[in-house]
């Protein structure tokens, strides 16, 4: 099931039109020069979330004859991610699609990269005060609203719910705060009985939910802004033998199995492949800013005209019925 489809299509259409208009005026520029390289830089690089994103990135790169490199740090460590980003810049890529672990620490590194002629765009998390030219993400507010409505549909509008959170990561924060605000405004009888920071750690989530269930026997629903914590939460719910509606964002192979088994109600998953594809296109366009001559002041004000301040890649709703289509192992068969 697709949501925000219209906005995603608009974004795609913009990317396509920009490409086509460039094709009409300067076709040779729509492809990479030999060796032209684009890097996708992330933190916690072992996370399965990046795999389909990089596939989208790589497929777009291959279509334009460019080279795609996956990079970053395996750790959840800002200093290490910045070091890996700066190391990427040494190789003089044409552009970097970046998932900045935190916004402000990346302002200077991103600006330095852009000043040195390397295009930088962001995805899934942003550094809005930097000079990055584009940001691709799913609409976290729409996800939160969808989750809230689904919870109310399943447990009624006067039940207890709880949230797990990962403070500090902007998209995760937004998913949590938006859902709480939406509930408060539209369903004031819905009672928030637990709010625990589990920071994507399945063990911390297991412990938190175990305690929540002890303290709130009438707990009916859980909203979790990422998949790592959902793995621990579902284990705690199963052990307690409770029937709790669990909805989480993103998906991992483990949570997918739990969705198939009916232990997790659903996952709201950003369209990762589209995110990677749009991320690449944005970065490519920023690196090829002379493809178009738009009607604005970019020449005198000296900014990159390929600006896409916020692009929505949409999200998919994963349930027991369509879970097979989100099997990463199946998807990756025959791909590298």
């Amino acid at each position: 099931m697709e949501f925000n489809k219209r906005r995603s299509l608009i974004a795609l259409a913009i990317a396509g039109l920009v490409g086509l208009s460039g094709a009409a005026s300067a076709q040779s520029k729509l492809a990479c020069k030999p060796g032209e390289t684009y890097v996708m830089n992330v933190m916690v690089s072992a996370h399965p979330y990046w795999v389909p994103v990089f596939q989208g990135f790589k497929q777009a790169a291959e279509a334009l004859g460019c080279k795609a490199v996956f990079s970053g740090t395996p750790d959840y460590d800002i200093a290490k991610q910045i070091a890996s980003f700066e190391q990427d810049l040494v190789k003089k890529p044409a552009g970097v699609l970046l998932h900045p672990m935190q916004a402000d620490p990346f302002i200077n590194p991103i600006n330095a990269a852009i000043d040195s002629g390397i295009a930088v765009t962001t995805f899934a998390a942003d550094s809005p005060k930097s000079k990055r030219t584009a940001y691709v993400t799913s609409d976290n507010l729409a996800e939160a609203k969808f989750a809230a409505e689904e919870i109310v549909k399943k447990v009624g509008d006067s039940s207890q719910y709880a949230v797990l959170e990962n403070p500090g990561q902007s998209n995760h924060d937004l998913r949590v705060t938006a859902l709480i605000a939406y509930m408060d405004k539209n369903y004031p009888k819905m009672k928030l009985v637990g709010r625990q920071a589990t920071n994507q750690d399945s063990n911390a989530a297991y412990q938190a939910v175990t305690t929540m269930l002890q303290a709130n026997p009438k707990l009916a629903a859980l909203w979790i802004p990422e998949a790592g914590s959902a793995e621990g939460a579902v284990a705690a719910v199963k052990e307690a033998g409770k029937k709790i509606i669990i909805i989480h964002a993103d998906v991992t192979p483990a949570t997918l199995s739990e969705i198939k088994a009916g232990n997790i109600h659903m996952a709201l998953n950003p369209n990762q492949g589209v995110q990677g594809f749009l991320g690449f296109m944005n970065t490519f366009l920023a690196a090829h800013q002379d493809l178009i001559d738009p009607f604005n002041d970019y020449k005198v004000s000296r900014f990159n005209p390929m600006q896409f301040p916020s692009m929505d890649n949409g999200f998919a709703v994963i349930t027991k019925d369509n879970a097979d289509s989100f099997d990463l192992a199946k998807y990756m068969k025959g791909r590298s």
């Binding site: 740090t73 070091a83 040494v90 402000d104």
Partner: protein, 321 residues
């Protein structure tokens, strides 16, 4: 009875630093052929910059290891310094004064740890483990778990983290000054030689008149103070204070010190060696990135280097009896 006289040249060949320099030089030669980007000024500066602030903590850890102690709280205390200084700045205090207070708070934490080790007789390992958890908790409490945005820090303060003197980043200049000063102190001053005596044989040192408890107290406090200084520089560099900063830093820092020749049982180690240990890890990491080797290999190789260094150290100790 025979007396073994060793020349400076023979001593140099036996020193751990020489071995590290040879390994690093070999990697440099190989990498200069393997990647056109390796020997560029940009890459060399980026490499040194990547560990230069952490190296300040490495200096403290090395001195503490030499004295026979260890500190697992360095990452949390560094983060706490960022959080304290950042919170005070956001509350309206001058950033320099905020930083000074944060560094003093870290010294206070070191003093408490030192007192628990020397006064109560607890082991450094368990005391610092407890402080690691408490300091992290304080970071979370002080920030609500969210990073403090400090983009409004004045430029002259940010300069210590992001500025340059000519082509050289200020963080590298600070790092070099710290290395030179502490290397000199450890090699040339009586006060710091007492650290080595204490770590080699605490009882013997005490019989020789060294106030070993005071030495342990001061080295513990010094390590936390250096964490405070590093935290403030990190804050200036990133323009934010992150409660989750430095998780796992203790492992990097201890690894660098041990690779550089600091013994976990105390009594040996040098600042130069520890910095070479940090440099080796950074060079390996940079080389693998430039060669587009999977990021996961970096941890495997880093761990292997550490195990090799510890094994080498152990065999050397056994041979020396």
């Amino acid at each position: 009875m025979s007396i073994q006289v060793t020349s400076p040249v023979s001593r140099a060949f036996k020193a751990r630093e020489t071995g590290l320099i040879v390994i690093i030089a070999t990697i440099f030669v190989v990498m200069s052929f393997a990647s056109e980007y390796f020997m560029t000024a940009e890459n060399l500066l980026s490499m040194v910059k990547s560990f230069s602030v952490e190296a300040i903590v490495v200096i403290g850890m090395t001195i503490l290891l030499i004295s026979g102690g260890i500190d697992l709280s360095v990452g949390s205390v560094t983060a706490l310094a960022m959080v304290i200084a950042g919170s005070l700045f956001l509350a309206g205090l001058d950033p320099w004064l905020s930083s000074l207070i944060a560094i003093m708070a870290c010294s206070g934490i070191g003093a408490v740890m030192g007192l628990m080790v020397t006064g109560i007789g607890l082991h450094h390992f368990i005391v610092s483990l407890g402080v690691m958890v408490i300091a992290r908790g304080l970071c979370m409490l002080g920030t609500g778990g969210r990073p403090l945005g400090l983009f409004t820090l004045p430029l002259e303060f940010k300069w210590i983290g992001t500025g340059s003197i000519g082509p050289i980043p200020v963080v590298i200049v600070i790092f070099v000054v710290f290395v030179l000063v502490f290397d000199f102190l450890l090699r040339q001053t009586t006060a710091f030689r007492k650290v080595v005596y204490t770590g080699s044989n605490q009882k013997a040192a005490a019989y020789s008149g060294v106030r070993t408890q005071k030495v342990i107290f001061l080295t513990t406090m010094l390590t936390s103070t250096l964490c405070g200084i590093a935290g403030v520089i990190y804050m200036a560099r990133f323009g934010s204070a992150q409660p989750t900063f430095g998780i796992g830093m203790e492992l990097n820092v201890i690894a660098a010190a041990v690779i550089g020749g600091a013994s976990l049982s105390g009594g040996s180690g040098t600042i130069l060696g520890a910095i070479l240990g940090s440099l080796l890890l950074a060079v390996v990491s940079s080389s693998l990135t430039l060669l587009n080797v999977s990021v996961y290999w970096q941890d495997i190789i880093r761990g292997s280097i550490l195990l090799t260094a510890v094994t080498f150290d152990h065999l050397l100790m056994k041979r020396r009896g």
